[in-house]
Amino acid sequence: MATYFGEVLSVYSRAVEEDEYDDLEDENEEDVQIRREIEEKREVQVRWCPEVSKTLESSGELQCSNMIIAVGPSAAGFVSAYVLSAEGWTQVGWVSLWNERSRGSSRPDTVPQPGEPSFIIYQQNSSPSVLICQCTCYIAEDQLFQCAEKVLSSVQRRGLNVTVLSDSTLAEYKTPDYLNGSGTPFLRALKTSSYTGSMLCPLLEQPNIVTGLPAAVLSHCQVQRIPAVLFQCYTDVLHPDSVAMETYKPALSCLSTSVKLEACPSVEVLQKFTRISDAQSNLYT
């Protein structure tokens, strides 16, 4: 699509070819079989550690007062550096899924290795009703709905509060003013109708929208009337950096009674989560 100024925007065609749909009409038994197998392979599964599975079997759902879902490199890095390193957290489960970009199904029963893209669920030792989901893997469009549904349906809905932290590039943010790098990174919020807490940052302005797992989680919470709030960080740095991570700090301040934040993580800890952006080798290192 070309704009008034002649530059070409990379907008994918929204038109849908009808022929592709026609193929679906006259599929035979084998096609159906293949389709079903693919669908089964792409199914999202939440896997819990033995203790939690036992609780789930007996009571059907986990007690949960606060669930924090961190999606994207900066948000996940923030959770690792500021929250998970601060006090006792235990990994209690993970989400196993397979798609073109996350081929986790070769060993769906093994816990993801540290550092590899994953979707891990942590539980606080001192207060087991606080859960943190840390998502760094790619979730395909057709798996998002299922993913949100599966994770949230295993916890008790009554008394549940959901906080979603997510990140996005500044290029995605639309504003009538010209944005230069000086005001970044910044937070914008979205909340469901049943969320009554105070807002710590401005609401996401129209015509900006969120997609992906944060959108799936918020939609689920809106429909199920679970109080949920999303903090989206817009940053102009591609990789997780300490400045972007720090912007999330106020977002969790309302949970300060249940989640303790490391006020100032040490350089080593921060470096561990920002190192991926270091140049692997160049003339000067």
Binding site: V16, E17, E18, S193, Q222
Partner: protein, 335 residues
């Protein structure tokens, strides 16, 4: 034998749990309460992942297998009670070329100040969330802070009108089930007629379609009585095109390239006896705002949603979410 006593008054949430923990595809019983009966389950009409509402019935047939039917709906009301759409006209867009149908639905909701009455919660659409797209300028249903999702239903009881706005594309593998669910929702809600706003690739028009206006309509057999009034308005029906041009001119087919779900939904409504009108526009991708006004004005000629001003124009109100269609502000240093 009906044995639904155990489900005399389950909360919607309990049923929902049953859905989540039961593997319907293999029709094997996982839920404890079903295991107690100790018979094989045969499941009818179940699409997992959808919210479940009443009624739910469970029965044992002569082969000692349990047959149970769960009526599912993807419509989730914003209020505690489900609004009645009996006798209403439903307008819904097809996700098609230039998003013309979706933009037209936006224009109608924004102008008529329609409050949101519910969400359409389905796994067939790509998830999306944002704040109220119609806020500002006395927008519908309050201020900016209203979470809006990928598909929502807006209603205007005086006009007996409901609009289903679909904001994201349908997942390729779920087109069929999406159509099925739409048709079942339309049927169960009791809409008197449904209008599908759509568009089709302008560059695919054949010789006969190139004549005259770019607007076309299609009516399902159940809505044939509307034909007379449409003919009086001078509307043109969408021409069938030759399946094999130049070789065999007798075999004609319905062809709506770039129309997304349009053709499938139309054929479904024809077989299911649903009164459906398709109103479509031939257009191309680009700035489709002018196309949207063309389509909406055309629809207004038929449905009389909005009175024309004495000058002959229709005062549509553009929603706030249409701003910045071409990206953010321009760096001031350019000048």
């Amino acid at each position: 034998m009906i044995c639904d006593q155990a489900y005399a008054s389950p909360t919607p949430y309990q049923i929902y749990k049953v859905l989540t923990f039961t593997d319907f595809r293999s029709a094997q019983c996982v839920d404890q309460r079903f295991c107690a009966v100790n018979v094989k389950l045969t499941v009818l009409h179940v699409h997992s992942d959808f919210l479940c509402r009443f009624p739910l019935s469970l029965s044992v047939n002569s082969n000692y297998s349990i047959v149970y039917e769960i009526k599912l709906t993807m419509f989730v009301s914003s209020e505690d009670s489900t609004p009645s759409f009996k006798g209403f006209t439903l307008i819904l867009p097809a996700v098609s070329v230039g998003n013309v149908g979706q933009l037209a639905a936006d224009l109608i909701i924004s102008t008529l100040n329609m409050p949101r009455v519910g969400h359409f919660h389905t796994d067939c659409l790509v998830p999306m969330a944002g704040n109220n797209p119609y806020s500002g300028g006395g927008g519908s249903g309050g201020g900016a802070e209203q979470l809006s999702t990928n598909a929502e239903v807006y209603s205007h009881s005086d006009l007996r009108l409901a609009v289903l706005q679909i904001r994201t594309p349908v997942l390729q593998t779920k087109v069929k089930s999406f159509r099925k669910l739409l048709v079942s929702w339309i049927k169960s809600s009791g809409f008197s007629r449904t209008v599908l706003l759509s568009s089709s690739h302008a560059h695919h028009r054949d010789d006969q379609q190139l004549h005259g206006t770019a607007l076309r309509y299609l009516l399902s057999p159940a809505l044939q009585d509307a034909e007379k009034s449409l003919k009086e308005l001078g509307w043109t029906e969408l021409e069938r095109v030759c399946a094999f041009p130049g070789i065999n001119d007798s075999e004609k087919r319905l062809y709506i390239p770039g129309g997304g779900v349009t053709k499938g939904l139309y054929t479904d409504c024809c077989t299911e006896c649903v009164p459906l009108a398709v109103v479509l526009l031939f257009c191309s991708e680009g700035d489709n705002v002018p196309d949207t006004f063309t389509l909406t004005n055309h629809l207004n000629d038929w449905l009389h949603l909005l009175e024309k001003t004495p000058q002959g124009s229709t005062p549509w109100r553009v929603p706030s979410s249409w701003r910045l269609l071409f990206g953010s502000g321009i760096p001031p240093l350019l000048f």
